[in-house]
Symmetry: C2
Subunit: 333 residues, 2 copies
């Protein structure tokens, strides 16, 4: 499988490509299936619909990987956190604020995720299936803020001053290990861990409050699986210095990170990082800019094409298809 | 003057300190004066009120610099852009979209800014007065978006695809030079240029669409004044590599930039970059974290303490005062 070969640094004829949020609202076919369940979490838990949606990007775009359709907040429910998605407002989370009252989870409690993986695996051949989770810090932020945030004021106060911080991070690490390894047992070919919110921290705070937990977390994960692991983080190229020592196979970075320079100095595989806003351009500019971007990649392997962040609902399917085709047409001679 | 000495790299007994948005809504005394003018731009143009407000931080906090009270959008009005501030919603800008219809400005059209500087200068002795402007890219963004933005979609499309982009950036550079040099003639001791939005670009786009204009802009500025110039940019530590060659005296960075490492590799002075959210902590944590931060600064000069971004309306004056006092009490033996 092309993507796995590239992560390993084997010789490849072209760069593999998949896109974050590749199954999403920008697709008419997604919107049609989405209507069949009112509530977003019920939609994720409907194995039939979640499997069908996961496969749409392979059918419509011929991307080089399937990421299972789910949400990073899924493993929080069995921990004892009430999770709701409000129409047009995003997630709302509720718990009593006491880490002691939270539970250790078992993958059997979210077995629908395993079933989606098995169904998707049965449908695709030469394309790997990506299992995923949120990173401990990002999930902790959602729990503490109770929703998306702009300033992460509550998160930072909790992190800087609460004696519960270490306990919550450790519990999340433990539960996420169970959650990710369950996905591997169900058949996932690789894993991606999403850290969307660590970007709001200073380098010093990232080292002290995130990296301290992240390193043993990935070490433990790697003890139990030899499947590749990708760590996605938004923003702050400053963190790359610390991340070089993280036991993951690839770093997935957003477009504000100088990935070209980073690749020259790192032994890790990289994934990313085209600015998704390019999809709002006319077709000619999109194609031209994508090719310019590809020509700057200083390697012929150990790279996976992706955007710096997820696709947006107001993007056009035809342009997303053009983007994928442009990357697939770029040969590594 | 302590701040100027530090920028030059001279020996200093302690680090100088001032805070972005140090005169603002968090101060009861500001809110009282603010009530005297309904409209925000009229408030900036009221020389009497703007001078009084500029001086509040020296009176109440004993900071080491006065930044004149004004707004980065002020020089856009005489260019032919309609600028309004809507209560609780921020700025709204309107123009006909044709760069040819925009005008070259003269500082005499915004002479109230000069008058504020003269009045403030007359009131303070050992404290320098900072003149400022927005950076060309940030002002272009406001003009193209018409307001604050989250995704900078219009800005990026304009930048990537419009033939007017270069003309608008050149006109802004020319007008901002006039605007900044007018402030120097009025008596400003140093200048700060705020680039709040360049953080949303990739490194490649920053080089091609921002740095290309920024470098000649600062070169031209430096031909006409020997006063120190500080360039403030938010986000992206990735840009530091390019900025090392920018002819400015100091880089002011936000807390997501690994400033400690940057300082070790750079000959520039630095300003920043404590996470402003620390001001939401209890007094003990605020003091402790501030001292920890100061102890990590790898220099004894060429540094100015500041936050990574501006003060927020819900911060407490007493804690801001404690922060300033903590920095002033930290001796460089």
């Amino acid at each position: 499988m092309l993507l796995l070969k590239s992560l390993k640094g084997e010789k490849i004829p072209r760069f593999p490509v998949w896109l974050m949020r590749q199954a999403g609202r920008y697709m008419p076919q997604y919107r049609e299936l989405r209507e069949k369940e009112r509530d977003f979490l019920s939609f994720c838990k409907n194995v039939d619909l979640a499997s069908k949606v996961s496969l749409l990007p392979v059918e419509l775009l011929q991307v080089d990987a399937v990421i299972i359709f789910s949400d990073i907040l899924v493993p929080l429910e069995p921990m004892g956190v009430k999770v709701e998605f409000l129409e047009g407002e995003g997630p709302r989370l509720e718990w009593d604020g006491s880490v002691k009252s939270l539970k250790k989870i078992s993958f059997s409690q979210v077995e629908f995720v395993g079933e989606v993986i098995r169904r998707v695996k049965a449908q695709v051949k030469d394309v790997p299936v990506i299992g995923f989770s949120g990173a401990p810090f990002t999930l902790m932020s959602y729990m503490v803020e109770g929703r998306s945030s702009k300033d992460f004021k509550k998160t930072k106060l909790f992190m800087w001053t609460s004696e519960q911080y270490a306990d919550l991070m450790k519990l999340l690490c433990e539960n996420l290990l169970e959650y990710l390894l369950g996905q591997i047992r169900a058949g996932a070919d690789l894993l991606q861990v999403f850290d969307s919110w660590a970007m709001h921290l200073s380098y010093e705070d990232f080292e002290e409050y995130v990296y301290t937990y992240l390193k043993p977390f990935f070490e433990e994960l790697k003890k139990h699986t030899d499947k590749p692991v990708i760590y996605f983080f938004r923003g702050s190229g400053s963190f790359l210095r610390a991340l070089e020592n993280l036991p993951v196979d690839a770093l997935s970075v957003d477009w504000t990170v100088d990935m070209v320079s980073a690749m020259k100095e790192s032994s890790k595989a990289f994934q990313g990082n085209l600015d998704p806003a390019l999809l709002y351009c006319d077709e000619e500019s999109l194609q031209k800019k994508t090719l310019e971007f590809l020509r700057c990649i200083p390697r012929k392997t150990k790279y996976v094409f992706n955007l710096g962040h997820g696709l947006m609902p107001d993007m056009e399917l035809s342009k997303v298809k053009l983007l994928v085709d442009t990357v697939k047409g770029y040969r590594l001679s």
